[in-house]
């Protein structure tokens, strides 16, 4: 076996440029497959991290009436925060959020919004709620997302009239002052919502101690529904991300397939020629006492070794490239937030050992099969004829 490997290696290197061309193409396949899959994994990871950081924390409890797609449910979807949550609330690992329907009037145009009450000191979400601690005497401090800011043409420092109803249906209106416009990669938190201090909203609406959502940071803890509060795990809340990534991945795999097919075409062609040109050599091997199977094995190993060399070459230039990508990220020339899902402008690929090993295994396996197929012809050769170099 050792001799076979050595021999195969020598033969390959001896073939010079031809081998290196094959190796280069194969190494492309390695790097491209790993990079693209890494991008997808990175996107998935990043989208979920962004959602965790900006929107859902480690998971949420929803009031049973709450439906984020139906603003009409907001009137009904609030209740006092269950007593069972008090420990986590006290530790700051749980944050109650109250959402109330409201209307703002930028330049006299009537615009519905969701008024979201959130504690200024909360540390679960990255929304800059600290800005809500700003002392404003004649208005309510508010924080809004960039999407809302763009859609309704509202800027930092703007004052707006906001109207809502308290729990009894009595109208109330006040001026809000936009302290900060934030941008995240999560459009859901940026569009149609105005963040104001939780206690302020509670007193404005006479909904003391009530909430619509409760976000918690500890996703590991076993949790059940609590009365009228429905537990939504992180996995449940991030499921849409998985779906979009899945489509993209399926679509891309066709690309890998074609790239691999191309590399295989090269290997196949090389193998066919090797066997054609080296019949004398094959005859010699057999004359020397190699069984046909061993000779087939030798040629197969030789072909398969392309992929091993390719792995080495891929590592040589691929490793720095992939590492650089993982560090610097791949910046898309677009603003991605309007696609309606969490997506950052710069994606940082994430490579797992599994991904690398799987890619190497697949490429080596496929190369081996492709190398083996033409080699089978050897088994049918007549050794004496082969020795004479006759074309058969």
């Amino acid at each position: 076996m050792k001799t076979a490997l050595k021999l195969a290696f020598r033969n390959l290197i001896g073939a010079g440029l031809r081998t290196w061309l094959n190796v280069l193409v194969l190494s492309f396949s390695f790097v491209v497959i790993i990079w693209m899959n890494g991008l997808m994994a990175g996107w998935d990871y990043q989208a979920k991290t962004d959602m965790t950081n900006w929107q859902i924390g480690g998971g949420q409890y929803w009031h049973e009436q709450y439906d984020p797609y139906d603003p009409f449910t907001l009137t009904e979807s609030h209740a006092p925060v269950p007593a069972g949550f008090s420990d986590e609330l006290a530790r700051g690992t749980m944050e109650p959020i109250l959402v109330v329907q409201g209307t703002i009037y930028p330049e006299g145009r009537m615009q519905p919004v969701a008024i979201t009450g959130i504690r200024p000191g909360q540390e679960i979400l990255m929304i800059p709620t600290f800005a809500l601690d700003t002392v404003v005497t004649d208005a309510v401090p508010a924080v809004i997302g960039a999407v809302l800011s763009r859609n309704m043409q509202v800027k930092e420092g703007d004052r707006l009239t906001m109207r809502w109803r308290d729990a009894n249906g009595m109208f109330d209106a006040t001026e809000i002052l936009v302290i900060k416009v934030f941008s995240s990669n999560v459009p859901a938190v940026e569009a149609g919502q105005i963040y104001i201090p939780l206690e302020k909203l509670r007193s404005m609406t006479l909904l003391e101690d009530e909430a619509t959502l409760v976000t918690f940071s500890d996703s590991e803890k076993e949790r059940q529904d609590a009365g009228e509060w429905v537990h939504k795990s992180k996995d449940e809340l991030t499921a849409p991300v998985d779906e979009i990534i899945k489509t993209k991945t399926v679509g891309q795999s066709v690309f890998y397939g074609i790239l691999l097919l191309l590399a295989m075409l090269a290997v196949f062609d090389t193998q066919v020629l090797s066997i054609f040109r080296r019949q004398k050599e094959i005859g010699t091997y057999i004359a020397l006492g190699y069984t046909r199977r061993e000779v087939v094995g030798l040629f197969t190993v030789e072909g398969a070794m392309h992929s091993v060399l390719a792995a080495v070459v891929a590592a040589l230039y691929g490793f720095p490239f992939l590492w650089w990508q993982a560090r610097e990220g791949w910046t898309m020339p677009i603003e991605a937030s309007e696609f309606g899902m969490a997506m950052a402008q710069t994606l940082y690929p994430v490579y797992s050992a599994g991904l690398v090993i799987a890619t190497v295994l697949i490429v080596v396996l496929v190369t081996t099969i492709v190398s083996y197929l033409p080699s089978r012809k050897i088994a049918k050769m007549n050794p004496t004829e082969a020795l004479r170099g006759r074309i058969q």
Binding site: Y69, T247, L259, G340
Partner: protein, 424 residues
């Protein structure tokens, strides 16, 4: 000379068959891949175009500014005239009016009392007039879950989840409660023709799709429409062309200070679609470049291999007194012929495959079960003019360069050596 070479190629299968096959397969893959990338990247664009943006869209200026609120009071009027103008001036587009509206759908029980009610997102399109392709654009026939497509006035499609929530079946009557263009409350009855599922949560939770004439009656929008969308007759978005159309159209209305004057926006001028268009072009170029490069390497290799195969033959020819230069040149000529033959053959098969996938698509819905995103469940290729010549880059040039490099061996080796190879 060429005739002679062709004869040689045809008679000596080992000289022609394998190399042509290799080139052809390589070219086929390149062409197919290019069409695939274009299609895959373009799918999201076309999807957005079909469902909301159009390739170009005409709205009033005021509507365009507040587009995300669906302000019907700012809709276009005298649409018939506008449509006629558009059709005359820009016949390369198919023009069609649309209205998006909000409202409540109310399902009655046997006594006519409300049985169930829910908020709905309404889409009004030209389903019924002759030659309208709106149903195809939305791929409605494939999206129907129960019942059938709208066939006459007064019929509607409901999203399947919504119909279940309202407990209505195809054939039942529902009442749309909405606001007219003037803000009046309005009610309008629809018979549920069928239910649809588009595979996107936003559309599937509460949509009602109706014919535009019904919507006009219901919403008091006689000869009005929220928007008129245009689709290039080719079926595919062409950014440059759309931009030209839009600027030519908008030039005619620059004088008008009227906020209700029509304004045309291309797909790339709506939302961040422009950036996506940009992105997909960049991506397609990257991927194609990587691929063409890889392909060039492979065909270069094939060229080398083709040259090597024939060292014996060269030996004989040199021994017979043929000039090295002549042998080399004929080798190159042959590779040109092989390259051309392979490229033509490969491009043809590549285009054929791409056309098949463009027509039928690769259905990945099985892999996408339970998806709630607005995602294409069928991947289609898209053939662009580039596909007709892109194969020549690797197919012809790489083959010839490969052969040129391989042929250098002729000069390097001694005649006797080459002759020995023949003997071998």
């Amino acid at each position: 000379m060429i005739k002679f070479l062709i004869k040689g190629l045809i008679r000596d299968k080992s000289r022609s068959r394998l190399p042509v096959i290799v080139v052809a397969i390589g070219v086929m893959l390149t062409v197919f891949l290019h069409a695939y990338i274009t299609g895959f990247m373009g799918d999201t664009i076309e999807m957005n175009a079909r469902f909301s943006h159009g390739h170009v869209k005409v709205m009033t200026r005021a509507y365009a500014e507040n587009m995300n609120q669906l302000p019907l009071d700012l809709a276009l009027m005298d649409v018939e005239e506008l449509l006629n103008n558009l059709q005359q001036q820009y016949p390369e587009y198919a023009w069609t009016p649309r209205i998006q509206f909000g409202g409540l759908v109310d399902a009655p029980d046997e006594n006519g009392e409300t049985k169930a009610q829910g908020p709905a997102a309404g889409f009004a399109m030209d389903f019924l007039s002759e030659g309208s392709r709106e149903a195809d654009r939305l791929n409605i026939s494939k999206s129907i879950v129960r019942g059938r497509m709208v066939q006459e006035q007064g019929e509607a499609l409901l999203s399947d989840d919504f119909a279940s929530k309202l407990r209505v079946e195809p054939g039942d009557e529902v009442t749309l409660i909405g606001s007219t263009m003037n803000g009046s409350m309005t009610m309008y009855n629809f018979r549920v023709a069928g239910t649809v599922s588009f595979g996107t949560e936003v559309l599937d939770r509460g949509s009602i799709l109706v014919d535009i004439e019904d919507a006009r009656l219901a919403l008091d929008m006689y000869d009005a429409a929220a928007e008129v969308v245009g689709f290039l007759q080719t079926g595919f978005y062409d950014n440059e062309m759309a931009l030209n159309t839009a600027s030519s159209f908008n030039n005619k209305y620059t004088a008008a200070e009227d906020e209700f004057a029509p304004v045309m926006k291309t797909l790339s001028q709506q939302g961040s679609m422009g950036q996506y268009v940009e992105l997909s072009n960049v991506w397609a170029v990257y991927i194609t470049m990587v691929f063409v490069l890889a392909m060039a390497l492979v065909l270069w290799n094939a060229g080398l291999l083709g040259g090597l195969r024939r060292y014996g033959e060269f030996g004989v020819r040199l021994a017979m007194g043929e000039e090295k230069g002549h042998v080399y040149r004929t080798l190159i000529y042959e590779s040109v012929l092989i390259g051309i033959a392979g490229t033509i053959f490969g491009t043809a098969t590549g285009l054929f495959l791409a056309a098949l996938v463009q027509e039928y698509g690769i259905d990945i819905s099985g892999m996408m079960e339970g998806s709630s995103m607005m995602m294409p469940s069928i991947i289609r290729t898209r053939i662009t003019p580039v596909d007709y010549y892109i194969g020549f880059i690797p197919g012809l040039f790489s083959t010839v360069i490969g052969t040129m490099l391989a042929g250098i061996g002729i000069y390097k080796r001694k005649t006797s050596q080459l002759f020995k190879e023949l003997e071998a």
